[in-house]
């Protein structure tokens, strides 16, 4: 299946696109997505490791199984606020 992954902020700039397509086998999880992105874009690997992944606008755990109808996004750390 082909998954579209939305990218934001520094992850978007490091990869050079707002969105990328990944071809993954059925039954793939959020962890599979992280690992596929990390191998394809080594320049973004460290930041992706510190990022969350959202599935259908909700934060998703690494074990979450994804489907090609899901809306997927990499969420780099937010600024968390001027403490």
């Amino acid at each position: 299946m082909i998954l579209q992954v939305q990218l934001f902020a520094r992850v978007r700039e490091l990869i050079g696109d707002e969105c990328c397509s990944l071809e993954l086998s059925t039954g793939s999880t959020v962890a599979t997505i992280r690992s596929a992105l990390g191998s394809r874009y080594p320049q973004a690997k460290d930041l992706i490791a510190r990022s969350a992944v959202a599935v259908n606008c909700e934060f998703a755990a690494n074990e979450r199984v994804v489907d090609d109808v899901d809306e997927i996004a990499v969420i780099p750390p937010v600024s968390g606020g001027g403490r």
Partner: protein, 141 residues
Amino acid sequence: MIQLTRDPIDHAALTELVRKPGCGAVVTFLGTVRDLTGNEETVALEYEAYPAMAEQMMATIADELRDRWPVAGVALVHRLGRLDVGEVSVAVAVSTPHRPDAFAACRYAIDRLKEVVPIWKKDIGPAGNQEWIHPDASATN
């Protein structure tokens, strides 16, 4: 009211929006662009959002406020795009019958917003230097 906008935030209008006859307290918080972080000078911040998720999470925060405090009116608005020093990037307005709840609810809303809502900022310095702010969760700054 939940909104992402590229236009200046009319915070006076938001304060008016949440005022209710049953509420003796209105607290409005404004986040504004600061010129210095430590010794680093900022001339502008550029905000980017994942809009669908940001709006959904802001609505969830408003629901949490209503669950925890007797909130009658709540407005959460975040601006996107490039903002100069002094401009308002985020506004939270909350009304409740008594002031302790209004302060507590407003504080919770802005803290939660900055913690979980997918909105990022890029710091732009005087030499045109640019840096996305993606703090390490374990860092205490």
